[in-house]
């Protein structure tokens, strides 16, 4: 039976620093992907994840056991993401100089018997467009969307992390998806590439405000 988060935390507080590695191993994938979807860059995601876990370690003595560790961790991670991005926005020079994220070469992604090179290139472009559209969302909408869609957090968990009502979570998710749809297709009159959800270039493909 795996150790509960709370038991591991007790051990760490009592001086067993090594046990912290088990918590990191348990959650690093989720926190890294949250940071990746929020920042859009692997290097930033690595820094945010590292910063998050260090903050968690330094604040463990303040952790109240009646609150779930996962909620607490996500709260710290969300704040780390927002702080990091604020710092990055202030440092505008760095933002300009930042090279685009190196996505894998589409030709390398083509498996034998899989989609052809052209289809792979289209898929890669689609991915890049979705990534940019996601980055263009305001933080208040992007955070719940990422937590829900990519992390599988329930409305209740997101509400607890962000300290908002479940109804607000639902509203923000709906608006976030509407914004994404508008961003990718050009509003209600734009044609989404429905029916070509995962492959193919959409007709009416537009990227606004990116």
């Amino acid at each position: 039976m795996p150790e509960t988060d709370e038991l591991i935390i007790h051990k760490i507080i009592q001086g067993d620093t090594g046990s912290f590695g088990r918590l990191v191993e348990r959650y690093q994938h989720q926190i890294y992907n949250l940071a990746l979807r929020m920042s859009g860059h692997r290097e930033d995601a690595r820094d945010i994840t590292q910063e998050t876990f260090i903050k968690v370690f330094n604040s463990l003595s303040a952790f109240r056991f009646e609150a779930g560790f996962k909620t607490w961790l996500y709260r710290i991670a969300s704040n780390s993401c927002l702080d990091y991005m604020r710092r990055l926005n202030r440092d505008s020079a760095r933002r300009i100089e930042r090279p685009p994220e190196d996505l894998p070469d589409p030709l390398e992604l083509v498996p034998a018997g899989g989609p052809g090179p052209e289809e792979s290139i289209i898929k890669r472009e689609s991915r890049e467009a979705v990534k940019k559209a996601l980055e263009s969302l305001p933080d208040a909408y992007r955070l719940p969307l990422v937590m829900h869609h990519y992390q599988g957090l329930s409305y209740r968990e997101i509400a607890s992390v962000l300290d908002i009502s479940e109804k607000t979570v639902g509203t923000r998710l709906y608006r976030a998806k509407k914004m994404l749809k508008d961003c990718l297709t050009g509003g209600d009159n734009g044609e989404m590439y429905a029916g070509e959800k995962k492959t193919g270039r959409p007709s009416g493909w537009r990227m606004h405000a990116l």
């Binding site: 620093t17 994938h29 959800k197």
Partner: protein
Amino acid sequence: MRKKLAGLLAGECTPSEELALRRHLGDCPGCAGELEKLESVDGLLDLLEPESPPPGLLNLVMESVEKASANKRRAGRQRPAYRPAGLIKDITVAAAAALAVFWLGGNLCGPVTTSTQGRISGAVTSYMQYTEAAVSLTSQAVSEINSDLFSTAEKLNPAKYETGK
């Protein structure tokens, strides 16, 4: 109604809400189209697949944590709540100061002596003189206070003290 569509896709509706929404969707092409578009957005979001954290991330975090932990321990050693070494030092200084006062007391207030015996004798004599003078002053002050208190009490309640006389 449309805002609930995202909840429907997320599986966050209660059974009764879901039933009502499904009924509505059958009658409302606008909402049905909206649901389809929201589903398409979910499909687009799925294009971004989860990635594995960089291999060295765990070690990087643990190195930082170990460093932070060592700093905490070092800071704790530098500022202990109880400092036995410091306490002993303080007591020693106080004892040396007291000895110096006694030692010099004879010289400052009595005849100039250079021999150790003379110094000790002077210090003890000074000590005795000052102690005697201090005891005498204290005794005199206590007697005066008693006398004042008695006079005040007598003035306030003369009958009580008349019988006693």
